[in-house]
């Protein structure tokens, strides 16, 4: 029985967003008997609605509301109004994520201690350690059915992986395999095994890939404690005279405004929309935005050092067959400043179909140099490079000075400049990526610049001390004790791993904390 809560029910927890953070938190709370209203800006598209067509799917599920960009990053030039490639739909970006589920390494929770003072970087240790996170990583992996954990076999490698693995072996890399993927290799949890469809980014048509859309959310709804409202764009979080949040103002798809009362509010709108909402919720009491006494809301925006290497071979590869992220080389994710940079990076296979390959291979390029690469499309293997980027105060989400959305609220601007460490890492990663393919006879390698950001992190970061960040070790706002941040924006630093597993682990942990604090009447 799906719950329906009244607008004036001030006993509910309002969760804003239904992705890895919000969707998981909503279900975890509902399982504990806590009443939850989950507000999702996008629509509810079920598995049957997904399409194996890159542009059609892009129009269907992407967050396309206008945003602006600034700074020296290439995305600002290539995609000035699309800084991020994320999802606006129930399930959030777990609809289009590739499924990679990697734990952070111990030192990645202690970057300031491990890396020292890096000039131009705003490094800070997490107020959480790997040891504290391990039980929650266990729970997250079990929940998501991550391959290579809990006795779940890894997925079989596809053609794209075979090329990567052969190159890795020739180079002497030691840790490469088909990954820790939250994609069923065998039927599990009411969902079938991967059919090697490809199109992981377009919504998994078999449901083998974990997404909150068809796991956490229906499970939460089945408890009778969770109501999910799609097409609910939150505009403002309101507070009482004591500075505790007490309601959320949102617009439905007809433009009608609603005010949902709340005992607790958890923000999980991804790292651009979450800080934007806090900034747009400024009031007389909080003139610089909600939870922003540190001035850190919107700052330290991270998007991972990224890039891709595509290589052409004289024999066919058909990289698009099977899982999009079909394997990983982990050797370069270690901390080893002898390489000329701090932090590390992962090398993960990636494939794009012809439409996206044309759009993203080298945005803006034309002529024979470009088209000849596409002529060899079925002979191409590809990998994505994803590594830790440096948090910087000046890399930030701000409210646009003049441009407003259809509700009259300022749209977000995303300013980003690569740190020299990011550039040194990218150069190294391009070189190693090419070497992997050269080792198996590549005839041409292409270094593809970053796509619009899929890993958006850090804009409401965790800190031990209230002056250094926005939330504490539980994701609870330093300034407002019944306000939480539950998405990747709470990351203190980005680590080299794909962020979803950590977002889910933090959400499970946060649910325990919220339930405990509610039980003690602390919030």
């Amino acid at each position: 029985m799906v719950a329906k809560f009244a607008m004036d029910d001030d006993g509910v927890v309002v969760v804003i967003g239904s992705g890895a953070g919000g969707g998981t938190l909503a279900n975890e709370l509902a399982q504990k008997g806590i009443k939850v209203v989950c507000l999702e800006a996008g629509g509810r598209h079920e598995i049957r609605d997904f399409v194996n067509d890159e542009w059609k799917s892009f129009s269907q599920i992407s967050w396309l509301d206008k945003r602006t960009t600034s700074g020296g990053w290439r995305v600002a030039k290539d995609f000035p109004n699309l800084p991020a490639w994320i999802v606006k739909a129930v399930g959030g970006s777990t609809v289009h994520w590739a499924g990679a589920s990697l734990r952070f390494q111990e030192h990645e929770f202690k970057t300031r201690t491990t890396y020292g003072a890096v000039e131009g970087a705003n490094l800070l240790d997490w107020p959480v350690t790997l040891a504290e996170m391990e039980p929650y990583y266990d729970k997250a992996e079990f929940k998501m059915g991550t391959t290579g954990t809990n006795g779940i076999p890894r997925l079989p490698g596809n053609n794209n992986y075979k090329v990567l693995a052969a190159g890795a072996k020739k180079l002497g890399y030691s840790e490469f395999h088909t990954g820790n993927m939250s994609i069923n290799s065998k039927p599990r949890d009411g969902r079938g095994a991967c059919q090697q469809i490809g199109f992981c980014f377009q919504g998994c048509k078999s449901g083998a890939k974990w997404s909150t859309l068809y796991t956490e959310i229906p499970k939460g709804e089945a408890t009778g404690n969770l109501e999910v409202r799609p097409n609910a764009q939150v505009l403002k979080i309101e507070h009482d005279a004591k500075g505790k949040v007490n309601a959320v103002l949102y617009a439905d798809n007809t433009g009608a405004m609603h005010r949902q009362k709340a005992r607790i509010v958890a923000v999980a709108g991804n790292s651009i929309e979450s800080p934007r909402l806090l900034l747009n919720s400024a009031s007389t009491m909080f003139p610089d935005g909600l939870a922003n006494s540190s001035g850190q809301v919107g700052r330290n925006y991270m998007r991972h050092m990224t890039g891709s290497v595509y290589a052409t071979f004289d024999r066919p590869v058909h990289m698009y067959r099977g899982t999009t992220m079909a394997g990983i080389i982990r050797d370069e994710s270690r901390f080893d400043p002898r390489r000329g940079f701090v932090g590390g990076y992962e090398m993960e296979t990636l494939s794009l179909g012809v439409p996206f390959m044309a759009a993203f291979l080298d945005p803006g390029a034309w002529g024979r140099d470009f088209s000849s690469a596409l002529d060899a499309y079925d002979h191409i293997a590809g990998m994505w490079l994803v590594g830790e980027d440096m948090p910087r105060e000046t890399n930030r989400v701000t409210l646009h000075a003049t441009e407003k959305d259809k509700f009259g609220l300022p749209i977000p601007n995303v300013n980003f400049d690569d740190h020299p460490n990011d550039i040194a890492m990218r150069t190294h990663a391009y070189g190693r990526g090419s070497a992997v393919y050269d080792a198996v006879g590549a005839t041409r390698t292409i270094h593809t610049p970053p796509y619009p950001s899929t890993h958006n992190l850090g804009t409401n970061r965790m800190s031990a001390n209230a002056r250094d960040g926005v939330v504490n070790k539980w994701g609870q706002a330093h300034d407002v004790k019944n306000l939480f941040v539950s998405d990747g924006s709470q990351f203190t630093s980005g680590a080299s791993e794909n962020p979803t597993l950590t977002i889910v682990a933090l959400a499970i942990r946060q649910a325990d904390y919220i339930a405990d604090q509610m039980g003690k009447r602390e919030i």
Partner: protein, 184 residues
């Protein structure tokens, strides 16, 4: 390994109506060899883009994304999608028609001939380079990289199979059939 037959099939439904003749001639790549005098049927079928502009734009789009094994029909179809947009947007229609004229002007300056009449691709590319920063060029480039490569008929030519869920994915259709790496 399961590889694909990339030959053009003439009986595809939904293919550009005017394409039959073009596809028949697909073996001979037109590019700069488009005849300047006559107005081809596909160009007359456009609404907002004028026939002369259409002929110039066709060569331009071929030069932007040259694939010698693709006949003109694929490029014409891509242009037709931009024409549909221009039919609803007078500003765009003006930009395209005027842009084609400006391209010819630039071509006469550098090559002493209208754009489509310049014989060598390298010479036409030099003309395109000279207008690379104009809004017209950027619009055509940006729209065409989507419209050209978003055609299932082009995918087949490039060895991409498109949607796979309805065929049961690739689990039994070659996701791991790569056979040229030993011990892979």
């Amino acid at each position: 390994m399961r590889v694909l037959d990339k030959r053009t099939r003439l009986n595809r439904r939904n293919f550009l109506k005017t394409s039959a003749a073009s596809v028949a001639a697909a073996g001979a790549v037109s590019g700069g060899m488009v005849s300047i005098g006559a107005t081809p049927a596909w160009a007359e079928g456009l609404t907002a883009i004028k026939p002369d502009a259409a002929k110039t734009l066709l060569v331009m789009v071929r030069d932007l994304y040259p694939h010698d094994r693709l006949g003109d029909a694929y490029y014409e179809k891509a242009l037709a999608s931009m024409d549909q947009e221009a039919a609803k947007d007078a500003t765009l229609a003006g930009q395209l028609n005027e842009g084609a004229v400006a391209l010819d002007t630039a071509a006469r300056k550098l090559g002493n001939a209208p754009y489509a009449a310049i014989k060598a691709e390298a010479d036409r590319v030099a003309v395109l380079k000279s207008i690379e920063t104009t809004p017209f060029f950027r619009k055509v480039r940006g729209d065409m990289v989507v419209a050209l490569y978003n055609q299932p008929e082009v995918w087949a030519k490039l060895g991409y199979e498109g949607a796979s869920a309805e065929y049961g994915g690739y689990i039994h259709r070659g996701f791991d059939d790569l056979d040229w790496i030993k011990d892979a």
